[in-house]
Every structure is written in structure tokens, then in C-alpha cells.
């Protein structure tokens, strides 16, 4: 287990470093110049040069990368080129929106997907099994922002039961309106996420249902449900855990996408704006935090899987 942990941690750190390099290089390959976003129309070439010097974008790429890594090592994410404000606090200020949104959407997606997926598999021979599967298929094809707009039209504009977007100025100071503001975004992300989850759960369940040990349990007199609960679920859980970890990461990214539809002050809004302004430190900061989250969740997922099924650990260590 310890050997596995050490190796897996090394891989995690290596991936993070690789992600940082890739991020840095890809961003610099984009056409455009942050100095342009900063200066008004009418700026002279001298002003543009001065702005570049001030921003540090006139330095060579290796030099820029070096200073960025150096800052990162001290947990300093740099300063926004545009707002001249530090990036770290900017990101942490957005987490009270993005983190609850992600977690709530994830829990809701699991609550919907597990029963529906199991049902779609267990009742594959009835009419509604395939129908549920087809709905899930359809759900995968639906873009989250479109679903968001649809929900806003129905629940906010027509029925007037929920706000159409925005977040209270005092944040979670008054939890009621804050929670309310998150309902539609959470449902949007959860519905999209649950669609793909349902198919995983269904496939995993079908595999287990066809397994020999389950047939044996049935032959020994257990009802389908008893057999499923006693012998099936645990075996189905192993692939589902790794999928869940992956889905949690995807939910996070889904939340980031949906934020701009609902005008939420989360990481997504920050990212969209930073991209349009070529604000490299902010883009790098948000992407790095997102990438790190995805990698760490994947790492924890792997660990959980090995705890659930120790056989994997032996296989992994050999």
C-alpha cells in the first residue's frame, strides 16, 4: 500500500507539473496581446511598449515561465495583468459559489443516476428499461447551457418560482437567497451529469446481473433484490467508484461552464472574462486550480477503489 501511495503521489505531482507547462505554452501560442486589452484606442506604440514592459510580457518565454514557477512554489499565483489585483484571493473569493454548486450537483446527480441506472438494467426486459436508457442517451447530447436557458425560461420567467440568475451581494451572509440562486444551476448540472452516470450504472449492473455468483445465489433461493443487495452491489461498486471520481471532476467543469448562463460569481465567470482579456495569470491560476482538483479527485478515487477491492492493490503492486 505504501509503495503504491508513493508511486501514485509521484505520478500526481508529475502530472501537475506537466499540466503547468502545457498550460503556459498553450496560452502563449494564442494570438493576441494583453497590452491591447489594457490600453484605450488611441494608444501610441510607445505606450504599448511601456505596457508590455510593465506587464512583463516583453521578457522571453523561458524567463516568464521561470518566474511563474518560482511564484507557484511559494503558492503565489501572481497578479492579474488587467485588474492589477492578486490572483490567489480572486480565486478563493469565487470558491463559495463554485464548490457548493459542484458538490450539490454531484450529490443530486448520484441520487438520480444510481436508482435509475439500476432500474434501467434490472428491468431491461420491461418497456421502461429501454426508455430510461434512451432518455439518458438523449441527456448526454444536451448541452448544459441550453438546458440552463430552458430551465430559466420555465421556472424563472414563466412560473416565477426561482431567480433567473445572479448571486446575493452579501453572498452566504443570508443563506436563503444564496441557496435559492443555486437551485437552477445545480439542477442543470446534475441533470446533464446524471445522464452519463445512468449509463455507467446500468452497464455495471448488467454485468453483475449476468455474473455466475449472482445466478448461484438465485439458484440457492434468494430473490433478485436480495441477491443484488448481498452480492451484486459490492461488485458493481468498484467500476462505479472510479467513474464517480471522474464524474465529480466533470461536474466541477460543468459548473464552471454553467456559471455564465446564471451570472454566478464563480470560477467560470472569472475564467471567461480572463480569456477574453488575455489575462494570463488569471487563466493560468483558474486552470491550474481546476486541473489540480481533477487530478486530486482522480487520485482519491483510485485509493477508494483499492480500499473497496484489495485485489486491485495486489495487482497494482506486482
Amino acid at each position: 500500500m505504501i509503495r503504491y501511495l508513493v508511486r501514485r503521489t509521484a505520478i500526481l505531482i508529475g502530472s501537475l507539473f506537466f499540466a503547468a507547462v502545457a498550460l503556459f505554452v498553450l496560452l502563449r501560442l494564442l494570438p493576441g496581446d494583453p497590452a491591447n486589452a489594457l490600453l484605450p484606442v488611441g494608444a501610441t506604440p510607445e505606450q504599448i511598449e511601456a505596457a508590455r514592459r510593465e506587464l512583463g510580457t516583453d521578457a522571453s518565454l523561458p524567463a516568464q515561465f521561470g518566474s511563474w514557477l518560482h511564484d507557484l512554489a511559494t503558492l503565489d499565483l501572481g497578479t492579474s495583468l488587467i485588474s492589477t489585483l492578486p490572483v490567489g484571493p480572486e480565486i478563493t473569493a469565487r470558491l463559495p459559489v463554485t464548490v457548493p454548486l459542484t458538490l450539490a450537483a454531484f450529490v443530486l446527480a448520484v441520487l438520480v443516476a444510481v436508482p435509475v441506472g439500476v432500474l434501467a438494467a434490472a428491468r431491461a426486459d420491461r418497456w421502461y428499461g429501454p426508455v430510461l436508457n434512451a432518455i439518458a442517451q438523449l441527456g448526454i447530447a444536451v448541452p448544459a447551457f441550453w438546458l440552463g436557458l430552458l430551465l430559466v425560461t420555465v421556472f424563472a420567467l414563466r412560473l416565477r418560482v426561482l431567480p433567473a440568475g445572479g448571486f446575493p451581494p452579501d453572498g452566504w451572509g443570508d443563506p436563503g437567497p444564496a441557496a435559492q440562486a443555486l437551485v437552477l444551476p445545480v439542477v442543470t448540472v446534475a441533470l446533464v451529469m446524471s445522464a452519463s452516470l445512468i449509463r455507467y450504472v446500468r452497464t455495471a449492473t448488467l454485468e453483475v446481473l449476468g455474473a455466475d455468483h449472482l445466478r448461484t445465489a438465485r439458484a440457492l433461493g434468494a430473490s433478485p433484490v436480495q441477491a443484488m443487495v448481498r452480492h451484486g452491489l459490492r461488485n458493481a461498486a468498484v467500476p462505479v467508484i472510479s467513474v464517480l471520481a471522474m464524474e465529480l471532476a466533470t461536474t466541477f467543469l460543468g459548473a464552471v461552464v454553467v456559471e455564465s448562463v446564471f451570472a454566478l460569481p464563480g470560477l467560470g465567470g472569472l475564467l471567461v472574462r480572463a480569456i477574453s482579456q488575455h489575462d494570463y495569470p488569471v487563466i493560468q491560476g483558474v486552470m491550474l486550480v481546476s486541473t489540480a482538483t481533477v487530478l486530486v479527485v482522480g487520485f482519491l478515487g483510485d485509493l477508494a477503489q483499492r480500499v473497496a477491492d484489495p485485489r486491485l492493490l495486489r495487482r497494482g503492486a506486482s
Binding site: 490600453l39 505596457a51 492589477t84 424563472a156 431567480p163 440568475g165 448571486f167 435559492q180
Partner: protein
């Protein structure tokens, strides 16, 4: 059996969560109260980058803070006139080089410090400083020195006559000279002080009780920021905001115009959509060719297809709120037959082809397609080259590497760009350059106006560019609201007069 229970339970949970959330009010974010106790909820797409207008704060900082939190010696009103604000009086020397300002007495900053001449000096110097990113910096380069003989008097000496000096001062915020952080805090003399700025979401202004002038007619303002126009309009439809400062989505107007709960005002903007030729490059170095292209395009039809009944054809670079405005829509007006004649006279009887660099965001792609079909009718073939805003800036604006392009110019009083042959238009007319320079040196506003009118007429006749139309400035507000600015000149949005019934 268990499976069914599980499903029932989870469905119940989802429904319960939805109902629970629905129990609140009707989604409104509008604070209660009316008259002087109401807080006005304003929706905007222009969030400040930071709170400093000399450090790249952007359009949003002008909208929220200009006139509301910070004040200048003078102010540009919503109708385009310049009025004294913190300057109680001003005297100009006969040679036009020395300005002596006397300050309003008993003016206090939000921090409690009294306004003195040192603060005025600091305010002007912040704009002209080396690291200033103010778009007004070049206008104030004529400032040679600033003296403060006593606390209430400021004497500014210019290196040359500048008739626009007073107007330019309306953009200069008078700041507390002892303030340290201008990017996240604010200390002005305006009717509101800065409350909370929740980045990515809201900026709150609260009424300042110690204000020296007429106090604000409401308790405060909350600016709500949206990156998405649809989300912004939805916020207005659900009463989460009371007013949208500048409607950018023509398609959204129908849902408000057929509804008595909302009022739409069609104000005058200063934003012009230009078909800008590179006047230094063939074939647009020929006046006849530029005139031909201008006459081949039906501007009214274009405006109508994009904005419906909103917006104004202007026929020149000068918007109606500039003092030297004249209706020049009849100069090079739509006339395809004469366009063909002009082409023949320019030696291009069979037309020609050119590439149009078109920014990739609305309304440029639509307008470019329209131009292409209009020009095809007189034998001109257009190749549309779609580029990003950044590419535009580098390729067109900096390198002048283009034949023709489309762009919007947002500022007022910007006809003076045509006096600079090095500007990306490449328009080089000695007489116009002289007139524009002389206008700035004029002794009276009337003299300035006469010269700029003359210059603008020449520019329009020579079709230096084709001015397609003036954008509408559309404010959509709840019918309960009154007293808001409708023109929003240079993105200012004075909030102190707004009343909610």
C-alpha cells in the same frame, strides 16, 4: 421492491429541494422601500477591472463611479454640455494659457478629509503621470504646471492654448491626495460612497450623508454585472434589476416593448459604426472610389435590419451631442447610379475587388454580409475576412495592414482623429489637419465649432470613411423608475437622480 422505494425516495428529495427553494419571495432582488429610501438595482455588462480610471479600470469604472463617487472640477451632463462642479469659478488669462480655479467651499471626501487644492493637483497629475493608462492622457499633455497658492485656489498653466481643456477636465477625478489604494478602495467627494465590491457579481454604492451638493434621491445603488446579455435581460424580467444601462441585444427589445411594466428610452449614443478605408492604399486613395462605395450602400436599410426603429444615420463622424454636429446624411447619400458613374470616372468601370477585415462579434459579421451584397450591385466584389478583436488591434490599428475594415468608435468629439495622417484611417488632408489644430487653439467655443464644422464637412464630402450609422443608446427600465440618464455619454451613468415609486 427496494429499487422502487429508492426511486420514490430520491424523486421526493428532488421535488422537496425544489419546493423548499421556491418558498422564498418571487425571485426579486429589488430592495423594498420607495422614494428616498429605495435602493436602485442596476444591471450592466461592464464590470470594472479595478476601481482606478487611470490604471486600466475600463468602461465599467466610469459607469459606476464617474459623478457618483468621484467628481471633477467640471462635469459633462447627459445632454453633452459642460458645467462647473467642484470648480466654483474659473478665470482664463487673455493669452488662454493660465486657468485659475476657485474651489467649492465645505467639500468633504467620504473619509472626512476636506477638499483642498492639493487634491485637485493630485487628480490631474494622476492622469498625466508616466504610468497612467488613461485615454485622456494625451489631451492633458498641454498642462505645463499646476500651482496651489492657497487651499481653495488652483492655477494651471498650459504650454499652448487648448479650448477643450475645460471639457477634458470633466474626465479628471479629484481624488484624496493622501489615498494609497485606488484599485480596490475609493475616496471621492460624490453623492455616494463605495460600499462593497463583490468581484464578478455586484458593486454597491451608498448615499453619502456629508455630501456638499444636492443629496442623492435614493438610498443607494447596486450595480449587478452580467457577462451574458440574455442573463441580464432575464434579471430585468424577474425584477432582480430595475434598469439596464445599455441594451446591447436588439432581439431582446420585443419582450419589453410590448409590456407596460417597462419603459424603453431611445437616447443618443456617441458610438459610430464605420466602414473605414485605408485612405493611403489603392483603390481607396482615390476620393471617387470612396464616394462610390459610400453611395452604393443603403445605410438606412442596414440600420433597420440590425436595430429596427432604433439608431440614427449620421453621414459623418460627428454625433448629435457634439457641439459641431450637422446633419450630413445627404452628402454621398445612397445612389447606386451615381456610384457607378464615379467608378467609371476613377477608371474602374468594371468595378474592383477588395478584402474587408471584419471583427468576429456582433454586429460586424451581419453588416459585412449586407455590404457585400450592396457593393456587388455596382460591380464591387468583397471578400470578408473575419478576425478577432485582438487581431484587429494588431493588424489594422497598429500595423495599418488592411484595405478596408469595419469598426465601432465609441467616444464623443473624436472627429479630430481625421486630423492625424498617422492614424489608422490614413486620411491625409493638409487643410483638414490645419483646421483641426487651429480649432484646438481657438479663442472661443464658437470659433472652435466653426472650424470643426468646416473640417467635418470636407471629411464627409471626401468620404474619408463611410459612417454607416450611430448606435442607439437604449435604456430599459422598470416603469416605476424615473430620473435616470438616457444618453449615457461616454458610458457615464449618474444614479443620484433616480427615484423608484
Amino acid at each position: 421492491m427496494n429499487v422502487r422505494k429508492l426511486i420514490t425516495a430520491s424523486l421526493a428529495l428532488v421535488t422537496a429541494a425544489g419546493l423548499l427553494a421556491a418558498c422564498g419571495d418571487d425571485g426579486g432582488g429589488s430592495s423594498g422601500g420607495s422614494g428616498g429610501t429605495a435602493t436602485i438595482q442596476v444591471g450592466s455588462q461592464y464590470e470594472p477591472q479595478n476601481l482606478d480610471n487611470t490604471a486600466g479600470g475600463g468602461q465599467g469604472v466610469t459607469e459606476a463611479l464617474n459623478g457618483n463617487v468621484y467628481e471633477g472640477l467640471f462635469k459633462l451632463t447627459d445632454t453633452g454640455t459642460v458645467e462647473p462642479l467642484l470648480a466654483k469659478s474659473n478665470k482664463v488669462s487673455d493669452d488662454g494659457l493660465t486657468y485659475t480655479f476657485t474651489l467649492q467651499p465645505d467639500v468633504k471626501f467620504h473619509s472626512g478629509k476636506a477638499l483642498t487644492s492639493a487634491d485637485v493637483k493630485a487628480g490631474i497629475e494622476r492622469v498625466t503621470a508616466d504610468n497612467s493608462k488613461s485615454s485622456r492622457k494625451s489631451n492633458l499633455e498641454v498642462v505645463k504646471s499646476i500651482a496651489t497658492p492657497d487651499d481653495a485656489t488652483v492655477v494651471v498653466t498650459l504650454s499652448s492654448r487648448s479650448i477643450s481643456f475645460i471639457y477634458n477636465l470633466s474626465y479628471v477625478w479629484i481624488v484624496n491626495s493622501q489615498a494609497k489604494d485606488y484599485t480596490t478602495t475609493a475616496d471621492g467627494t460624490g453623492p455616494y460612497k463605495l460600499g462593497q465590491w463583490k468581484r464578478g457579481s455586484t458593486l454597491t454604492l451608498t448615499k453619502f450623508d456629508g455630501y456638499w451638493g444636492t443629496p442623492a434621491k435614493n438610498a443607494g445603488v447596486v450595480f449587478h454585472y452580467f457577462t451574458d446579455a440574455t442573463a441580464l435581460n432575464n434579471a430585468l424580467l424577474t425584477n432582480a434589476v430595475d434598469v439596464v444601462t445599455s441594451e446591447q441585444s436588439p432581439d431582446a427589445l420585443a419582450q419589453f416593448s410590448n409590456n407596460s411594466s417597462y419603459k424603453i428610452t431611445n437616447g443618443k449614443s456617441t458610438t459610430k459604426l464605420l466602414l473605414a478605408f485605408n485612405d493611403k492604399v489603392a483603390p481607396f486613395d482615390k476620393v471617387e472610389v470612396r464616394q462610390a462605395v459610400s453611395r452604393a450602400i443603403d445605410d438606412k436599410k442596414l440600420l433597420n435590419s440590425i436595430w429596427g426603429d432604433y439608431g440614427t444615420p449620421i453621414g459623418s463622424m460627428v454625433p448629435p451631442t457634439d457641439p459641431w454636429y450637422e446633419d450630413l446624411t445627404t452628402v454621398n447619400a445612397y445612389d447606386p447610379a451615381s456610384a457607378k458613374q464615379l467608378l467609371a470616372r476613377a477608371g474602374l468601370p468594371n468595378g474592383f475587388s477588395f478584402t474587408l477585415d471584419t471583427p468576429n462579434y456582433d454586429p460586424h459579421p451581419t453588416a459585412a454580409t449586407f455590404l457585400k451584397s450592396e457593393l456587388a450591385k455596382v460591380g464591387i466584389t468583397v471578400t470578408i475576412n473575419t478576425i478577432t478583436a485582438d487581431q484587429w488591434y494588431t493588424k489594422v490599428y497598429q500595423k495599418h495592414d488592411f484595405t478596408a475594415t469595419m469598426q465601432e468608435h465609441v467616444n464623443d468629439r473624436d472627429v479630430v482623429f481625421y486630423g492625424n495622417p498617422d492614424f489608422y484611417f490614413g486620411y491625409d488632408n493638409k487643410q483638414v489637419t490645419t483646421e483641426i489644430n487651429q480649432a484646438e487653439q481657438a479663442k472661443t467655443a464658437d470659433g472652435q465649432t466653426a472650424l470643426l464644422k468646416q473640417a467635418n464637412k470636407t471629411i464627409a464630402e471626401q468620404a474619408a470613411s463611410d459612417w454607416l450609422y450611430l448606435y442607439p443608446q437604449i435604456v430599459v427600465a422598470s416603469a416605476k423608475l424615473s430620473g435616470y440618464p438616457v444618453n449615457g455619454l461616454n458610458a457615464q451613468f449618474f444614479a443620484y437622480g433616480i427615484v423608484k415609486s
